[in-house]
């Protein structure tokens, strides 16, 4: 049981993700999480305003079920499989975060400076969460995929568009991490 409850190494997690992708194709579907965001829009009636969302979303039901499973898996992990939420990140990372105003890095999964309820209820905190989400959703649909669809499936399938997208993911991620985050807190 200790094998399960301790944090899983990359060489355990990577192959399991590959198996998840394999199973979704074996079941006749595909691996891509961000397309669910468009499905949400369609369910919410966005098709009345924008033709792009006029799709028969029921054909994507399987993906919504997959996401529901993901939420359930997160719940199971948090309730029964994780004695500690501490994340053993590099001590240098902890120091770097303290320098830009994020304390207790690695003490739990998420920094309170972004995700605590108190922060969420401030204007700045709310906007950071909202804008981060907008960029993820807008960017993923513009690029035609997120980490699952481009970085895992697309690269596995030797797709040039996915390689370009992943390069873009890293340009954006590096700019945020090295240049913008130090200004925010």
């Amino acid at each position: 049981m200790e094998f399960i409850t301790q944090p899983w190494a990359w060489y355990v997690a990577g192959p399991i993700i590959a198996i998840i992708m394999f199973l979704l194709y074996y079941f006749g579907e595909r691996f891509g999480v961000s397309s669910n965001l468009e499905t949400f829009c369609s369910i919410g009636g966005a098709g009345r305003f924008v033709d792009y969302f006029k799709i028969d979303w029921k054909q994507n039901s399987w993906n919504l079920i997959f996401v529901a499973g993901g939420i359930t898996g997160g719940f199971i992990a948090s309730q029964w499989l994780s004695p500690s939420n501490a994340v053993a990140i590099n001590p240098q990372t902890i120091q770097d975060l303290a320098d830009i105003g994020i304390q207790n890095a690695g003490a739990s999964y998420l920094p309170d400076e972004i995700f605590s309820i108190e922060t969420m209820l401030t204007l700045k905190g709310f906007l950071i969460l909202l804008v981060a989400g907008v960029m993820v959703g807008f960017g993923a649909r513009w690029a035609g995929g997120c980490t699952s669809g481009h970085a895992i499936v697309g690269l596995s399938n030797l797709e040039l568009p996915s390689l370009i997208s992943v390069v873009g993911f890293f340009i954006g991620g590096l700019v945020m991490t090295w240049l913008i985050l130090p200004l925010l807190f």
Partner: protein, 137 residues
């Protein structure tokens, strides 16, 4: 009942995202600081094994459980679409510390504030659909 298999695979997804700490904002920050191999190892090993899967699909050595050929549709080309969309996604990924999969998994961990991020991501998808024709692709 045909959906239960997707639910079970989703549970496995949620557990591996949690147990490998992929849902941790700190792991994403650490990755973009090049201070750990963890995330690179995860994505790299998934891609290497994924390549083998794709090879088996392409050579028709593996079919769906119903016996149909597995066709993985090609991604849409276009430098602007992929590069600019990718950069925007990357900015959000590093700020939220979560890409779309982990966002949902974090709901299961009881993280209320992630709902704001998911709302934002849905709004972002809506805005893309609305302004799609005005954007370079």
């Amino acid at each position: 009942m045909k959906y239960i298999k997707f639910f079970l695979v989703g549970i496995l997804f949620g557990i591996v995202m949690s147990k490998a700490e992929i849902i941790s904002w700190f792991r994403i920050y650490e990755m973009f600081k090049f201070q750990s191999f963890h995330m690179y190892g995860i994505i790299g090993s998934a891609v290497v094994l994924g390549m083998i899967s794709m090879f088996l699909f392409r050579k028709k050595m593996v079919k769906t459980f119903e016996g149909n050929e597995i066709h993985v549709p090609p991604k849409k080309g276009g430098l602007y679409r992929n590069l600019l969309g990718g950069i925007l996604f990357g900015l959000g990924w590093a700020l939220a510390g979560a890409c779309p999969g982990p966002m949902f998994v974090l709901i299961g961990h009881g993280v209320v504030s992630i709902l704001v991020v998911i709302f934002g991501a849905t709004l972002g998808a809506f805005l893309y659909g609305t302004f799609k024709n005005k954007l370079p692709h």
